[in-house]
């Protein structure tokens, strides 16, 4: 009988595909080098933005590749906050995004419960419909949505954008939540119902508390979708004082020479909280995604 200790590498190529223990030091070195290179490629453009944001105004355009410029200054950050409408854009984005994420989660949480626990007529077509909506190019719906919004007088208002965002993540959220609800044993609810609880009570007292991780993922997903949207905001908002941060930052990036440092500073300020949130939650974000996909 063979044991693990007797297993020997065959060739460098074949060892590459094996995710085993006991790699040779040389192979380990190669793996670390490859991963360091990949990390550098992933991070370097971000470091460049940081670097530009710290440059003094007269040296914005420079062919230097140093990350921290010699005479680093926070001038661009001050300009963006005091002289530009940065705080206004952020405020607009936050109000719209938080409201829509809350409404979106409520819509999806109840809808997913119906899909998970009842075999009502129209269930399977409904699920297929939800899947199909993911395939529709957003640009395709823009013309009708624009015309609809113009007729309902929703252009240049927070309302129009908020309504549109609340619904846009619902199909995906329902899929994720349905997958999660399906993993909760139905016995829990049945025994509660024998004790006289109604369906709504079991949903509220059993399902929702047990689904907190999935609900958090869906909230985060709704939040991120609305927070990072450019296309819909571009169509619905034309007045600069209504701009969300994506539109605002786009105007800053428009003029390469003048505003590049301001664009970089604004980007860093938007990026840091979003990245912190994302990296902090990425573990369950991913488990939620794969759970929804695999378990169904």
């Amino acid at each position: 009988m063979s044991t693990k200790a007797e297993i020997r590498p065959r060739s460098a190529v074949s060892r590459f595909f094996r995710s085993g223990r006991g790699d040779s030091p040389f192979k380990r070195l190669l793996i670390h080098l490859a991963l360091i290179l990949a990390s550098l490629i992933a991070v370097y453009p971000v470091l460049r933005v940081l670097s530009v944001s710290l440059r003094p105004g007269d040296r914005l355009l420079s062919t230097s590749l140093a990350v921290i410029p010699e005479d680093a200054t926070m001038e661009a950050y001050r300009t963006v906050i005091v002289e530009k409408d940065f705080l206004l854009w952020i405020w607009n984005s936050i109000t719209i995004t938080v409201a829509t994420a809350v409404v979106g989660v409520i819509l999806a949480a109840t809808g997913a419960y119906a899909f998970s626990r009842w075999k009502f007529p129209g269930r399977v077509p409904g699920l297929i419909f939800l899947l199909t909506t993911q395939m529709i190019p957003a640009a395709m719906l823009m013309v009708p949505i624009y015309i609809l919004a113009a007729r309902l007088n929703l252009i240049n208002s927070y309302r129009g954008l908020a309504i549109a965002y609340s619904v846009s993540s619902v199909p995906f959220s329902i899929w994720i939540l349905k997958g999660y609800y399906d993993t909760i044993p139905i016995d829990l609810e049945e025994s509660a119902m024998i004790d006289g609880a109604s369906r709504m009570t079991t949903f509220y007292r059993i399902i929702l508390p047990l689904s907190t991780p999935a609900l958090a993922i869906v909230f985060l997903f709704n939040f991120m979708t609305a927070w990072n949207d450019y296309l819909l905001a571009r169509i619905m908002l034309q007045k600069t004082e209504m701009f969300t941060w994506t539109l605002g930052i786009w105007t800053l990036a428009g003029q390469f020479r003048v505003e590049w440092g301001n664009f970089a500073a604004a980007s860093i300020m938007v990026m840091i909280p979003v990245m912190a949130l994302f990296l902090y939650s990425s573990k369950w974000l991913i488990s939620g995604l794969t759970l929804g996909a695999v378990k169904g």
């Binding site: 060892r15 590459f16 590749l65 405020w91 607009n92 009842w118 719906l141 823009m142 709504m200 930052i249």
Partner: protein
């Protein structure tokens, strides 16, 4: 120009609060109606699920079903800036629109089939790099090693950055004089590249940006899949003398299939429909970088050909839909998803 003042805060909170209030009030009225009609009149045992679904269904009807219906109607009209208020509708118009999609330029010069070809190339290049790059990194990371968590966090960076910022930052780096790519090329003694004006390199720039953006998602999904594969399979294969490549072919790939198929379908759909990258990278608005989705947007909002762009949208959607159905049938990856 405006600043963040108390008045602005009050107005936005008022609007948002009003929107939330009306949403809930509307939902409540809807629930009462469904309860009375289904529950009391028809005595249906499905009253509760329908009540649970109703708000989401109405929202989707308003934001997805109605616009699609309207888009279909638009495809049969001659609506444009000239005929915005008085469009004429009719079958002849629809056939005319459909014919011009295939026979006339969709923008100024770009013909439909060249844009379609570019879209397929764009999707193929991007998804291939995403899957191969993500798979390589996931295989490298799927082992006990020092610094694993740190590598993983750093490599996930591109996914964590808001896409608009990432694309605009990359656009800055494609600047001829000061972008780091050209600075590096000069440092190596090579010719710098005209990223913004040369059609080939502008398309390449969009691809580079999107590949950079998309690898982390695939890596994370594949890594999750790899970790769910039991070690015992590999140990058994080693005993039988299978090489690393054979193990990859006969164990890793088949067992990764349930994760990989939906990820690839999603990846293709997202890339095919990606608007931000090709639109924002393309500062000079070269028609040679447009893919179907951005061409669609320009036809509608820059050339104001609403009727035509609606027909164009139908054709684009049909292509994607056929791909998805065929791929899912062939790969069988979504079987049992709705049971």
């Amino acid at each position: 120009m405006g600043a963040l003042t108390g008045e602005v805060i009050a107005r936005s909170l008022g609007q948002i609060g009003g929107m939330v209030f009306f949403t809930f009030a509307g939902a409540l009225i809807l629930e009462v109606i469904i309860y009375l009609v289904l529950g009391r009149v028809f005595n249906s045992k499905y009253t509760l699920p329908y009540m649970l679904l109703a708000p989401a269904a109405v929202g989707l009807a308003l934001l997805v079903v109605y616009p699609i219906g309207y888009e279909v109607r638009l495809a049969f009209s001659n609506m444009s800036l000239r005929h915005f208020r008085d469009p004429t509708f009719g079958l002849a118009q629809g056939i005319d629109n459909l014919r011009s999609v295939f026979t006339k330029p969709v923008l100024k010069q770009a013909m439909f089939f060249s844009v379609l070809g570019r879209t397929i190339l764009w999707t193929g290049i991007n998804v291939a790099f995403h899957v191969v790059g993500g798979m390589t990194l996931a295989l490298l990371l799927n082992r006990p090693m020092r610094g694993r968590g740190l590598y993983r966090t750093l490599i996930v960076f591109p996914w964590a950055i808001p896409q608009v910022i990432a694309v605009l930052a990359w656009r800055g780096e494609f600047h001829f004089e000061y972008g780091f790519l050209n600075v590096m090329l000069r440092g190596l003694g090579l010719e710098p590249i005209q990223w913004m004006t040369d059609p080939f390199w502008n398309f390449a720039a969009a691809c580079i940006t999107n590949i950079w953006l998309g690898i982390p998602f695939m890596m994370v999904i594949i890594l999750g899949g790899l970790q769910s594969i039991s070690r015992e399979f590999y140990e058994a294969a080693e005993i039988d003398g299978a090489s690393g490549w054979q193990q990859f072919r006969s164990i890793t790939l088949p067992l990764l299939q349930p994760v990989l198929t939906p990820a690839i379908v999603l990846g293709v759909i997202w890339t095919f429909n990606n608007f931000n990258v090709p639109y924002l990278i393309n500062r000079m608005e070269l028609e040679t970088t447009d893919i179907l989705v951005t061409a669609l947007f320009r036809a509608a909002f820059e050339y104001n050909r609403y009727g035509f762009s609606a027909a164009f949208a139908m054709v684009s959607f049909a292509i994607l839909f056929i791909f998805a159905v065929v791929y899912i049938r062939v790969a069988g990856g979504l079987q049992g998803v709705y049971e």
